[in-house]
């Protein structure tokens, strides 16, 4: 409203007092603006440079195996045959399990914190949920090995398979050894939960009061107000948070490596061990010595990079969508 006039006044005042310094200030401005432009351009340049380097290093493998690199299940460093399909499959499936488990939980947490929790509880619970994000992934991995895996082995996996008879679905069948796609998915769910919860909470808190008040004024119960007025308003922002969590799940390395069983094989059962791209890289990079092997690992890194980039682009787009919608509605 008063923006342009206010700025003009300020400029005029500066002009009065600083006529002698105008020349110097102009140079300073120019130096400053080129410096920050340089810094700003550094980041995208770095991104492109990394993509370029990984792409170039992975090109021999991508060129040699072609499309088969993405579809073949044969990962044999001794024979020099490389197909990343199990790792790509494992990366996506473990991330999906993580989101299926984490999303309802995270939305529940953030709804409680933004809508229901008494003020004194809001801060500490929110802080503790955020703290989950600060735990190093190797600690999650160790916790997984010593707590999660034994619990999964007995009683969780036998319960799912034998008591609930879920083995008929094929998803929960086979021997329950512990390290499995399911274990990796669960640990990932815990790890991405704070990201989704944190974004969702912010989005829910950004829902204008008038939205809730209007629903309540129309005679809605509290639940109906949340379900009918608050959640739809925050929906695309929450989706943005979920996709941010997905990006995190796709790239997680250490905890997954410790729990997934590291077997390059596509199995229908979630009890079977699997592999992810990130854990494949972490496992094999340090001791890979042949050029073909190194190139194949770089190609895996490139595929992972591309997938993560796409996911993050979608997240950006969704966040942009929601912010545009929100400003449109408040006006």
């Amino acid at each position: 409203m008063s923006g342009p006039e206010g700025r003009a006044v300020v400029e005029a005042r500066e002009g009065d007092g600083a006529t002698l310094r105008i020349h110097g200030a102009a140079i300073g401005d120019r130096v400053y603006s080129s410096a920050i432009t340089f810094f700003a351009l550094c980041v995208p340049f770095l991104l492109l440079a990394i993509a370029w380097e990984i792409g170039v290093a992975g090109w021999p493998a991508l060129h040699k195996f072609g499309f088969g690199f993405l579809t073949s299940s044969d990962w044999d460093p001794v024979k020099g045959e490389f197909g990343a399909a199990p790792a790509i499959y494992g990366t996506i499936v473990s991330s999906i399990i993580a989101l299926v488990l984490a999303t309802p939980l995270a939305i529940g947490v953030s709804l409680f914190l933004s809508e229901l929790a008494p003020r004194w509880l809001r801060q500490p619970v929110g802080f503790l949920v955020d703290l989950l994000a600060a735990i190093p992934s190797v600690v999650y991995g160790l916790w997984g090995i010593f707590v999660l895996l034994p619990v999964l082995r007995d009683p969780v996996m036998p319960f799912l398979r034998d008591t609930l008879h879920l083995d008929k679905t094929g998803l929960f069948s086979g021997p329950a050894y512990g390290p499995s796609m399911l274990a990796a998915g669960i640990i990932l769910a815990i790890m991405v939960l704070p990201y989704i919860a944190s974004v969702s909470r912010e989005v829910l808190l950004a829902v204008p009061r008038s939205q809730r008040e209007a629903a309540l004024a129309l005679g809605a119960t509290r639940w109906e107000a949340i379900w009918g007025a608050v959640l739809p308003y925050a929906r695309s922002g929450i989706v943005g948070g979920v996709i941010l969590g997905l990006g995190r799940a796709l790239g997680e390395t250490m905890a997954v490596t410790m729990l997934i069983g590291n077997r390059p094989e596509i199995a229908a059962s979630l009890f079977a061990p699997g592999y992810t791209m990130a854990s494949l890289l972490a496992n094999e990079f340090s001791e890979a010595s042949s050029d073909a092997h190194l190139s194949a690992l770089m190609a895996v890194a490139f595929v992972l990079f591309v997938i993560t980039l796409i996911v993050n682009a979608i997240a950006r787009w969704l966040v942009w969508q929601v912010s545009r919608n929100t400003s449109g509605k408040t006006a």
């Binding site: 044999d76 050894y177 390290p179 490596t257 496992n283 990079f285 340090s286 001791e287 010595s289």
Partner: protein, 359 residues
Amino acid sequence: MNRRILLAIPLAAVLACGGEKKAGGTDSSAATASTGSGADLTGAGATFPYPIYSKWFGDYAASTGVKINYQSIGSGGGIRQLTEGTVDFGASDAPMTDAELAKAKGPILHFPTVLGAVVITYNLASITKPLKLSGDAVAQIFAGKITKWSDSRIAALNPGVKLPASDILVVHRSDGSGTTYIFSDYLSAVNTAWAAAPGKGKELSWPVGIGAKGNEGVAGQVKQTGGAIGYTELAYAKQNHLATAAIANQAGEYVEPSIESATAAAAGISAKLPPNTDFRISIVNAPGKGAYPISSFTWLLIPKSIPSAKKQKQITDFLRWYLTKGEVSAASLDYAPLPQPLISTLTARVDSISAGTAP
């Protein structure tokens, strides 16, 4: 030049992560050593002998003042850095292949330092005495052809032992490792089907089983799962009191893994070495009484000609030191020392390292 640096950033990050995963105490010293600027010699490579190398370099610096900075980045990384000439020497758990040697700037000499052995560990609550296994049985188990502990092929080796009818869960290393190399080298030597596929290497395409990270990962998984079988380094198994199997050697004698039986394996092989050997030799399934069959050297990789005369003297001095004083302290850290006849052969070989560029 720029491209190098850009490549180095993610590379360094990966390597740094690799370092983090190793047992706590040793690593911090590696980090401080690598940033120290006063090192006279630098080396990089195998993680398996890192504890003993670290002790040697520490003792050597204390007695002679020559500082050696060693980064345990993995055998593959050690060979790469040596080939590129960014370190003075490398170290590896597997000998360099002909292709790798051809890529190096000049001839590279292999110096065996200590011996490693790989033990077979298992989780069978009902078995109190060490299980007896033949090389063939081990290969069949890890190939997924023997799937139950009560299989007649295992029972025949263990008369009088009541084996459970439970399933066998194979646990192998998921990370590239010299331990896997030694183990698969052994299986390839005793079982022709294994030699054809999956073969030998630091990473394999395993027919069955679960991959666990590091010795501690394999041991942890085996300890937690009844009926599991896996393999770890001898030093790790000794320090953690794992149940280990006695393995039939070439003479058909069941030998339990130990420092002495690993040294015996090296003695059995080195007695038969031709005089012009380059020491790129495998000692798995070695002949000789009391030889533990899954043993291997680990090597220092030294360029045959070293441009700087000063460094040439420092390296050869160190090599002579480890062959005399160093070997004595190996057993204190659960590494098997080289047999005596081999030490004299290697000492004579140190003299062939020359100063100046290759002729």
